[in-house]
Symmetry: C2
Subunit: 125 residues, 2 copies
DNA sequence: ACCCTTCTGCAACCAATCGTTGCACACACA
DNA sequence: TGTGTGTGCAACGATTGGTTGCAGAAGGGT
């Protein structure tokens, strides 16, 4: 176990949703169905060019897909890939949660195990 | 609803675990209980100084705590704060997962709603 | 057809961050 | 006291998130 879910994470995908602005872009696209760099930038505290760059990153990891519509370029979330990303979040969440749970249980076990004992357990791991 | 969990995320905390190297550092600390910049760097593909910087970042958001031990500086994961971070991951995971589920349900509903019509028209956009 | 608006794309630039190397300092121990 | 090992600080380069500025393309009104 150990490294567990951590080593199975696609770093590119994770770092794509690691940026707060990109997370909000994904969220806006989910909310409105689609959007362009221009329309998205109106709802964000950054410029259109910054949004365009972010869309480029999201497109590179296929979290969004572009569809030319006239002179516009509409972006939509790729649901399959977002589901993939969500699964990775969930994976790490579960791994750490389990680890925390285990640590907590061990701590409790130790208290139960040695109410007044001076037994030095295996410290060096 | 909508923006939901996204806007409640602590960006500093998220970006702390957004870095792959820092995620692995946290994971190593969880695995071994504690560690120093030197020992951690031996198990990572980066230098001790890079690890030290990452530990600084993690310390700033209290995901880890330092304990001077002789001339060493042992770091341990702050379980409460990691639990907090995990909760935020879970929050975003749940929000997007719900969104995806809803989209999927809508898509299915549309199909049920018009069983006799040619679906090829829906793909055009 | 023409002009004007507006949407996109490219390039230069600034600031912050991740990583490196190099060196100085501190502490343990023979 | 000297030596080895661990830590801290500083400078540097590369990458990235953000900006501004400008050029090009496509739709709309007259």
């Amino acid at each position: 176990m150990s490294a567990a879910a951590i080593d199975t994470v696609d770093d590119d995908l994770w770092s794509a949703i690691g940026d707060p602005t990109r997370r909000r872009i994904v969220d806006l696209l989910l909310t409105h169905g689609d959007g362009t760099a221009t329309t998205l930038s109106e709802q964000l505290p950054v410029t259109r060019q910054a949004v365009a760059k972010h869309l480029g990153v999201l497109d590179r990891v296929v979290l969004v897909r572009a569809t030319p519509a006239g002179r516009e370029k509409r972006y939509r979330v790729d649901e399959a890939q977002l589901a993939h990303a969500v699964a990775q979040l969930a994976s790490v969440t579960a791994a750490w949660d389990a680890r925390l749970r285990r640590i907590k249980r061990i701590a409790e076990t130790i208290q139960h195990d040695r109410p007044a004992s001076k037994r030095r357990t295996t410290s060096g791991g």
